[in-house]
Amino acid sequence: MTEAPFLRMEEIHKEFPGVVANDRVDFSVRRGEIHGLLGENGAGKSTLMKILYGLYSPDGGDIWLDGTRLDLESPQDAIDAGIGMVHQHFMLIPRLSVTENVVLGEREPAGRFRTSMGSLLDGLVSRFSLGLEEPADRIRDLAGQYGFDVDPTAKIWQLDVGQQQRVEILKALYRDVDLLILDEPTAVLTPNEAERLFESLERLAEEGIAIIFITHKLKEIDAITDRVTVLREGAKVGTVDTADVTREDLAEMMVGREVLFDLEKDPVEIGDPVLQARGLRARDQRDIEVLAGVDLTVRAGEVVGIAGVSGNGQKQLAELVAGLGDPTDGTIELMGTDLTGASPREFVDHDVSFVPEDRLRYGCAADLSVMHNATMKDFRQARFGANRPFLDYGELREYAETLVEEFDVRGVQDVRAVTAGDLSGGNLQKLILAREIYRDPDLLVANQPTRGVDVGAIEFIRESILEQRERGTGVVLISEDLDEIVDLSDRILVIYEGEFVHETTPEEADRERVGLAMTGGEAAATDGGRDPIDAGRAATDGGGAADRGADGR
């Protein structure tokens, strides 16, 4: 039975400086359908939904809801149109109560002041009173209806994460939405809580509400979606019925099969361990555990590639082994020295280099010159005047110029005049890489080193990493780009939900299996996933246990 789509987004186009976030995307959803939106980080899912919710305005394209063209200039317009959004990062005010958070913006007057005597009086009354009792009752009803266990009078800071998410959902339900968008809702839930969420969502869909479910986890797509749309690098790859595809198909659509480069990788003699990290655990600001006991050993001359979708703990792992922040548990040893809990300075002094994921935030000072940025880790060295009162700026300049030349950083006429912020993404990354590599580190941690970088620079960066490997540096390479991992690594680890769930080498790597592991397919294989092919694999492999997080070859 075909149905005219309830929501139709046509040719949506959105660009930001340097990147096309949505490349003429078509997207439609039917009433009563649970429609999955799948893609890696940077694929454009969040942008597309922010456009739908009125937070961003598109550069091109139209949105049709139930046959009417929508002109959304603010979230209020989206709310008025019956669109609700449950954000990944909760939008709740901890100090206020559940009811106050839910009711904000609705301007319901207090019960005893309700009038129907004309809009002027209504307007005044709704502004200058605050209705909390009736809304609280209604919230209780809604919560009961969908199986949420939430006390409307509780303050948000008193609730646990699962409950807080339910409040987020209640915010939308309270406004009688016709279309509900959920952005990676299970990121913070336990499996049980996720189950209950899915049950509630199915009930909502039965009542005719259209639901858009953004995720990167294949098991969730399997669990509740009717159809799924896959985005990659800003463009739509396709829309399929969930029942008609396997997880492998979806992984392939999400992650891609292009082999861009042919890199020369010489065999290198792998030496002693440079980094030995054991049992690393870490928590994020919401006190959720993001690293659940990770062991990582890297040897001199070895590139260990860590594949995974952003948000599975890689960022914290990278920061920990590079010296930023302390683990809640576990040890870090560098060339035999225990550096657990040491300051960033000690890591730098022990020849650890770091290319961070967020290059503008942690990797450079955008307002300062190329010279400053090129020397920020090494300015204390003797050659720059460590034993004399003054810093030898002449030497600093020369050093910067050397880096710029050897690493082909373009756009730098004068290392003192051009700032890091003036450089294009690719050239800035080359500069950062130059700085981190030229000091000949023992350990190099590179997190998404080629993200947002133009093609020419990508090749250069990858070759530089391989060269450094030949010089005996141990490299931790974290990337969402599977091709990059396969081309550069000696060993490949897949991280998912804070643990290593799969280990392999480039020669033995089964592209699809790795893709599956990245999206939780591997984990589901052991709890008897619904995909018949997968269940078969689980029977013959004896599960993924032998592959988990092991290291110690």
């Binding site: 937070l55 901890p94 100090r95």
Partner: protein, 327 residues
Amino acid sequence: MATSFVAGLLNATVAASTVLIFAALGEVIAERAGILNLGVEGMMLTGALGGFITAVVTGSYWLGFLVGIVLGMVMAFLHAFLCITLKSNQVISGVMLTLLGTGLTTFFGQQWVGEQIEGFPQVTIPLLVDLPVVGEAFFRSTATDYLALALVPIVWYFLFRTNLGLETISVGEDPEMADTMGVDVFKMRYLAVIIGGGFAGAAGAHLSLAYLQLWVPGMSAGRGWIAVALVIFAQWRPERVLIGAYIFGLLDALQLRSQSLDLTLGPGTPLAEVFNPILEFVFHPTIMATYPYLATILVLSYAVIRTKSDQLAVPSALLQSYSRETD
């Protein structure tokens, strides 16, 4: 007699607190919405001079009071425009407005020094004024004194029991969240700042038309800054503003009565020689004048260090300008 001393002290305290109550309540509203206004001192002086001139020229102190409020709102509008629309640094903008207010009022106010006005008369509330000790202090005051007192529960009700108040608090806690809920962040912030400025202007007008009933350049004597400190001390709650205003007002009143105060131990008491100099120092009126500021620093430090981040009394988005499409 001790009781008449206490009664006199109480009277002075209550009288001194009104200016602080006006200014601090207004600043609570502005800061709850996320905007720090360091221009209170300048707005106070502008309200004081504007109100005074109006009273001299028209003979009406009520009109003067109104003019004072309006002038405060005008200056606050400038602050709002700079901080909200132009996203300027709130500290600089506030300090600039204080400098501007102080400079302009001194500049234009020279010629008005020495002018006489008929200011707000004392209004007695019968029966209650006869209560011992507290009667004279609380129930023989000017209309603006009563107004300030009445504003405490009104501001409390506004912030915590109305939808506009809820929205004001939300834009100061998490403007992004409020925006996604359909709240007009810019409008609420503008309103909060302008109302706050009106309160500051009222404080100044009260100063020149009711409390001191004269005009002298710089007559606010730092009360604007004390009000800013008071807001922090009161942890952004209107009811605590009242208590804090009395405490700060008490210290102010004590300063003037230093001669009649003898808080040292008698010579016969053991260790009198050791403690007396310390007591003299601690209770010295000039030293006591620092206590509001020191207390505020302590309260602020405590709030920041000891409290979990999601329970901080400080409005979470204070000093942050908001723009929809930034990461």
